[in-house]
Assembly symmetry: C2
Homo-oligomer: 501 residues x 2
């Protein structure tokens, strides 16, 4: 088998060092490769930034074709490398394609450029719009080899913005990443875009990531993964001579509060919860890790029994990687020592009560995998104390029926303080790729909770406004020109309009 | 004279330590005061965040009345404390009032909440809008005792967002700040808002600022001032256990490129430039510090003479503070040793050529005051080399007439890379408070160039989106309720509309 090379601005290159996985021998990217990728990215940036939104939409459409044409190989790599089943691979492939389509639509509509025009007799003519910020590094996520990795939301939103992308493949699935990178490379070539807008680098250790984040030409970072990894990249990026934004989505325990009437009445709630906890073997960032149930001892006991019955029906599913399983087992073991735990590797739940939890706040730490801690509460003040004790979260659920509304209303301010998305029904797993999605929450759920990592608003992470004062019309970007050639909705002197100005 | 106290959440308080200025004896705020101010801010946050946009607009309108009612005292404090003339104080007072009015209009329109709704049969109902992030610390600016200080753009945009504000007064004008803070306090009381939404703290050294930025309940920082001060606050904030955003506007040299035909034809350009350089004694963050002139040796010599004539007509104006004058003299003296400098404290210009400048890049460092460095260039490539050598800038001007368009077009990508606002006519001093303004540029001009510090878009610094999934209508914030009771423009299933949904 030949060595799997790094892609540096359109050319596949080998280095002296390699690493080996069951799927092949991979050339390790060096600091020199990082430097060349970044120089090429910077050189291609202006041309890419100046492509029209339609040209970038066409590139993304071509990418969809290139991915579809290689779907079988990509799925084969995914299942061989990740231990996840083919159905999951197929579903994630579909999500990845759907995600790219959303950005095609965003580009074809064009309003994300947010053109704002102030043009009145006697004052300066001022026109502002969003521009791409420059080369972006994307770190593949362990738990989503497709949808949050090489052609995932970070890369696609950066491409849509007009930013060159350098992907560092995740060491758990470098071959899948290589296959996807080949499709991106093909789409770049087909579209006649500068080759420098995409590089794909691979290595085993942390050094490549450090070299990338510290490179002076890099302008931003997208990351999905652990707190430890995300925070390390964030700190490095902030200590550069020129700090750059790092959008690290670092997960959370996604607390779900079950209020008394919901607890008493919703018979299928236990099943829904356990399904959510075990979905994808609990390896989703919105996996509910804390179930805070308010109700009488009797109702909690009935609910607890229902949960346990559901857990026991679950069959073992594979984790994405052996090392994630090992970590899960070790953390589960710790809980088993300290509290009542039912179930094991396929699906497990711990059971405690508020007073015990509040004395053992380390139980709130994420146990990444199919595990959730059930905390029984006697009073609403205990629920409040628990929520107050928690860090920032991606999601927080307040599950109640009509008769619980007063309690839900009382908890809502706390939920707003702690989370980026608040649910009132259902379960937090399942993150819709729409403009209304907010996937990101107060630290440490993510490093910048003003931006979403999922949905089309993710593009705003890679944009900054530039204002043009008294610019000759012919020199203005089309989005700001008087005749509004792109037919955008623009704010002109405070009024949203598609008229010329 | 009685001791001037700190305002902590509605109560005027003394501490054991004081500092003295010609205008009075001031109680120094301690770490205990910071803690009490932040606890009160946090306690008042939810109630303030839940006020309607109209209630916050009414508060800001009341603040305008309270400031106007105390205008004479505020202007008297300003002129006594800052050495700046009454006309400047009056102008800045007007700008401050005008700025508050812009935010009143923004709140009464309400679209900054950016409601986005995805609601379709068969999928989860998802509704997202902007929410305030929490208590904000505002550091008064030395060079704008009113418009960028206690009731300046940072404080007003944070109040408009629904964030409590803790102002640290600038030690150059604590009495002016106290007078303005008294007006804010009055407006808070008149409006029946919780007293915790505003505190005003004063001290001489850096310790108070550190205690503020490091306080765990603080959620954001607004700062206008030096690179050294802004970067120190930024670093502190990033190294907290929970990093928080710091919007530090740290100024720049605002390069102006004069292209050949403009240089040859625009007779009044020299006067316009020198007026801009000396405006407010050169103490504006958009003061043009580098004039990069492309043209023949003859034309540059003619222009240079015109500049020198203009400089010599300028009379001495006061600097805002003696220490700024001292720093200016010291930096000017350095330039005088190294290159040809004409003029002195009232107005000065250095003169050099591209080849010399490129060997002495430290000449590009900001000389804060009425000074600008003129760099003569023979070729466009020299202009490019100079721009390439520069750091990020608030503004960059490309001044040409019709025949220079080709050169302007060639330089435009560099200008986009380096600056937040690009001018094609006029001078960069004069920063309009409109939605289309971008006041902020690539680092080190500011710490986050995705946000503007001037104009109504400054409110986005203090907001983060929260998504509500399947929320009962009665529990939704009004901006997201089905009937659209606030009559906002909302994106509903991808379409902007004022309809109910």
């Amino acid at each position: 088998m030949s060595i799997i090379k790094n892609l540096i601005a359109g050319s596949w290159e080998e280095s002296a060092e390699t690493f080996i996985t069951p799927l092949g021998t991979f050339s390790s990217a060096t600091k020199v490769a990082v430097d060349r990728a970044l120089i090429a990215a910077k050189e291609s940036f202006q041309a890419f930034a100046e492509t029209t939104t339609q040209e970038r939409a066409n590139f993304l459409k071509d990418l969809i074709h290139c991915l579809a044409a290689n779907k079988d190989e990509i799925i084969a790599a995914y299942t061989a490398e990740s231990q996840l089943p083919a159905a999951r691979a197929d579903g994630e492939f579909g999500r990845t394609i759907g995600q790219i389509l959303r950005f095609v639509e965003l580009l074809e509509e064009g309003n994300y450029l947010q053109p704002i025009i102030e043009s009145k007799e006697g004052t300066a003519d001022l026109r502002k719009m969003n521009h791409p910020i420059g080369p972006i590094a994307v770190f593949g996520a362990s738990n989503f080899p497709l949808a949050f990795s090489t052609a995932g939301g970070d890369s696609i939103s950066a491409f849509a913005a007009g930013c060159p992308v350098i992907v560092k493949s995740h060491p758990y699935h470098p071959y899948t990443s290589f296959k996807v990178a080949s499709a991106i490379h093909q789409a770049v070539m087909n579209s006649g875009l500068p080759a420098g807008i995409f590089s794909h680098l691979q290595a085993e250790g942390h050094e490549l990531g450090q070299d990338l984040v510290l490179h002076p030409l890099l302008k931003g970072v997208g990351f999905t993964g652990s707190f430890k990894g995300g925070k390390a990249l964030y700190d490095m990026a902030q200590q550069r001579p020129e700090p750059i934004p790092v959008f690290a989505e670092m997960g959370s325990v996604n607390p779900m509060v079950i209020l008394p009437h919901a607890l008493a009445n919703k018979e299928d709630l236990a099943k829904q919860l356990v399904d959510s906890i075990t979905l994808g073997s609990g390896q989703f960032c919105t996996n509910p890790g804390l179930i805070i149930a308010l109700g009488s001892a009797h109702e909690r006991a009935v609910f607890e029994e229902a949960l346990i019955r559901c857990i026991q029906t679950k069959e073992k599913q594979p984790m994405v990687h052996q090392s994630i399983l090992t970590q899960f087992e070790s953390k589960l073991n710790q809980h088993q020592k300290e509290l009542k735990v039912v179930g094991g590797v396929p699906a497990a739940m711990g059971f405690t009560i508020a007073t015990a939890f509040l004395k053992n706040l380390h139980w709130a730490e994420e146990v990444f995998g199919p595990y959730s801690l059930f905390i029984g509460c006697e009073q609403l003040t205990e629920v409040e104390a628990i929520l107050n004790s928690l860090d920032g979260q991606l999601t927080l659920s307040l599950i109640g029926d009509d008769k619980d509304h007063k309690d839900v209303a009382r908890l809502l301010p706390l939920a707003q303080e702690k989370a980026g998305r608040i649910l009132f029904e259902g379960v937090p797993t399942g993150v819709a790729v729409t403009q209304a999605m907010m996937h990101g929450g107060p630290f440490p759920a993510s490093t910048d909770n003003r931006f979403s990592a999922v949905g089309t608003d993710a593009i705003f992470r890679w944009l900054r406004p530039i204002a043009y004062q008294d610019c000759p019309d012919a020199l203005l970007p089309p989005a700001l020109q008087k005749k509004n050639p792109l037919h955008l909705s623009r704010v002109v002197n405070g009024v949203l309009t598609k008229e010329s100005q």
